[in-house]
Symmetry: C2
Subunit: 423 residues, 2 copies
């Protein structure tokens, strides 16, 4: 693997130019060619399991140098089963319908012009992400299937693994008619590479940073092209005064405890004062049975002996771990105001049997996904039926919520006439 | 009119906070309320014609100080008829369907969850534009009808006129249930105001700059929120070897000469070498009859005595005036490569009788609108049936081409369940 130390800007520009050239060809490739590549790449990865494991071993060897936790090392580790799972993912993406060329709208105008709004790729995607190697494969597949070229910038912790995976994808590409430059990975740990690429809006159409808050803020500050942000998830479950107790417990526990470190995990519980005395001890016990620490307001601490007092920072916190904040609210309005103020507009749920209350919650909550009587964990491309996802957008612009193939596309207007001129 | 000289940042923050508060109310206002305001505002403007003309007179008086050209002064000038036209525009927007609440997609998942993707407003729009006062009224109407609050920043040349128009809109708002802060105008000529507002992504959801290249580049560089760009239009007409001569002349002349200073005007003519000798003299004469200067490549200059030699800058130029560049190309591929390289991805047209050539042009041209046998002038919200437009996006991200009500919206996922949890 070449670590570039000089002429970094030139290296980046060359990559971006190759991506742009490839994107012009990719935009008009048939689904047949793209899907053949995806299936061939799946075979290729499975057939090079030994080589992939060897590359992965290099990353695992370096993991202590980077100070990786046991959990992070587990996410980094490849195995035969995990490589097979990546291959399965590629075959699933191959089976999805091609989004490109879809006619989104169309009309015949009074003057006879026929206007169609046709889905096209965005062009080139710069994807910056963290250490799990499978993200490399997923992202490459989703970008190319949606007709985009992609420049990947993975975490340094997985660099050998990711580079080996990209080599596999590109070996398949070269025999399937996918243009060179469609999938590239930045093979340097120099952070300046990101800075250079963010300043090439004429070559890169969108940047997708997926990682910690620091990374995303840096990208937003430096990027001269649009940014699709995968920001934090401070998600709420609000238990209404007319909630079903059993449902409230089941949905809350699932939202909080199903997986602790994910963006759609519940980080804050709100409960209506009318039912707090009766219900909060039950909910608190259920959370504690899963090892969750509760940080509550005064009313919560009175009802739950084990709760610790919450500070103002707790209402903003995305714990991504075994902690939840909890607040007793006097009304739906207070719950809504709290969520819109402290939340991150990601995913928020209400538990209620009252349809008017549910409707009001849905109307007022300004989040990518609003759940009524369902776990926050369902805000996910797979669960929503998108088939594959490159991230969950916390923006309102362009795409909101899970981003799959369609969210990596734009459109163009195609107008057919017979010599019409404007009067 | 208050010109703020100190505490400018505070003034801007206050405006943005008011806009954000208003946007939360606007998001859930019924179409009835919004449309009542639009109709009432139309009456209000017509009833205050005298006051509006007086405010406009102040701007016209200052115009020489700002060095406005005759054409610019004409665009700035209000009249009874122009005020009536603004009122008519408001009534037309009132008659358009409300985009908010539309269900874009929906499905029932295998686990019984019902998922709907529902159209919602973006939130708050910061709109920066130039001197024509009618843009003030149009933009306010389009933003509020689509459920957004708007902060307007017009050109200093029209400041008195725009402020008087906004006063009229807000008098109508206060009696129609539109929240205060829904429509605000920045009443200072201090350029720093723009800089302050561009650094408030938590309060402003999108910025739309509409003006010269310098303004847009500044906004892109400084904005910490998404930018919807209305950039330049270097539009092409390509006359294919199988073009109908009469149609080619009519469409070219309309594309170039219908209005010289607009973004969808043709700035460059490409013609296939096989028909250049026969057709270019006719096209050149037609352009020259409209006072258009032609700057051509060598082949053009050989065929047209009056043509001046083009330089490399001419291929990039958006003249916005009585000049056109012209190049003879050897093939469709050369035309496509030229357009994708030098064009601004705005609007490009082909004149051809060959359907395969037309299809190939449509596939390969990477522009917001691709016209077959129709004038470039048709790339316009009104002509495309959008009803109203706030600009023409040259971005691929979020919205491309004419931006009307729908292009100022986002969506949220609304999920109804009966206690579902994720396994």
């Amino acid at each position: 693997m070449a670590i570039v130390t000089e002429n970094l800007q030139l290296y980046c520009r060359k990559a971006a130019e190759q991506a742009k050239s490839a994107s012009r060809i990719l935009a008009n490739l048939s689904a047949e060619v793209k899907d053949r590549w995806l299936r061939h790449a799946a075979d290729q990865l499975e057939n090079s399991t030994a080589g992939l494991l060897a590359a992965n071993a290099l990353d695992l060897e370096l993991a202590p140098v980077y100070g990786l936790s046991e959990a992070a090392m587990d996410r980094l580790r490849l195995s035969e089963a995990r490589i097979a799972a990546m291959a399965k993912g590629l075959r699933e993406i191959a089976a999805l319908p091609d989004p490109i060329g879809e006619i989104l709208e169309g009309s015949r105008r009074p003057n006879g012009l026929e206007i169609a709004k046709v889905r096209v790729p965005l062009g080139t995607v710069f994807f910056i992400y963290e250490s799990r190697p499978n993200v490399t494969v997923d992202a490459a597949a989703i970008c190319v299937k949606s007709g985009n070229a992609v420049i990947l910038r993975g975490g340094k912790e997985a660099m050998h693994s990711s580079a080996a995976l990209v080599t596999g994808l590109n070996e398949a590409a070269s025999v399937c008619g996918i243009p060179p430059g469609a999938v590239q990975i930045i093979e340097t740990t120099d952070r300046e590479a990101v800075g250079h690429l963010l300043k090439m809006p004429e070559l890169i159409d969108v940047v997708i940073p997926r990682g910690g808050k620091g990374l995303i803020e840096r990208v937003v500050a430096e990027a001269r092209m649009p940014v699709l942000k995968h920001f934090d998830g401070n998600c709420h479950v609000y238990v209404d005064r007319e909630a079903d107790a059993e449902m409230a417990e089941a949905v809350l526990v699932n939202s909080k405890c199903h997986r602790l470190g994910v963006c759609n995990a519940c980080e804050s519980l709100l409960i209506h004062a009318d039912v707090a005395q009766q219900l909060l001890p039950r909910l608190g016990a259920a959370l504690q049975a899963h090892g969750i620490e509760i940080r509550g307001d005064e009313a919560t601490c009175e009802l739950l002996a084990a709760a610790l007092p919450a500070t103002a920072e707790d209402w903003y916190a995305e714990y991504l771990g075994p902690t939840i904040s909890c607040k007793v609210v006097a009304s739906l309005d207070e719950a809504v105001a709290h969520i819109n103020r402290y939340g991150s507009h990601h995913t928020d749920a209400i538990i209620t049997n009252n349809v008017l209350t549910a409707r009001e919650f849905v109307r007022q909550i300004d989040s990518a996904a609003v759940m009524v009587n369902a776990s926050t964990r369902f805000n996910d491309g797979g669960e929503f039926g998108l088939g594959a996802e490159i991230g969950i957008s916390t923006d309102k612009f362009h795409a909101r919520g899970p981003c799959g193939l369609k969210e990596l596309t734009s459109y163009k207007y195609v107008v057919y006439g017979s010599g019409q001129v404007r009067h």
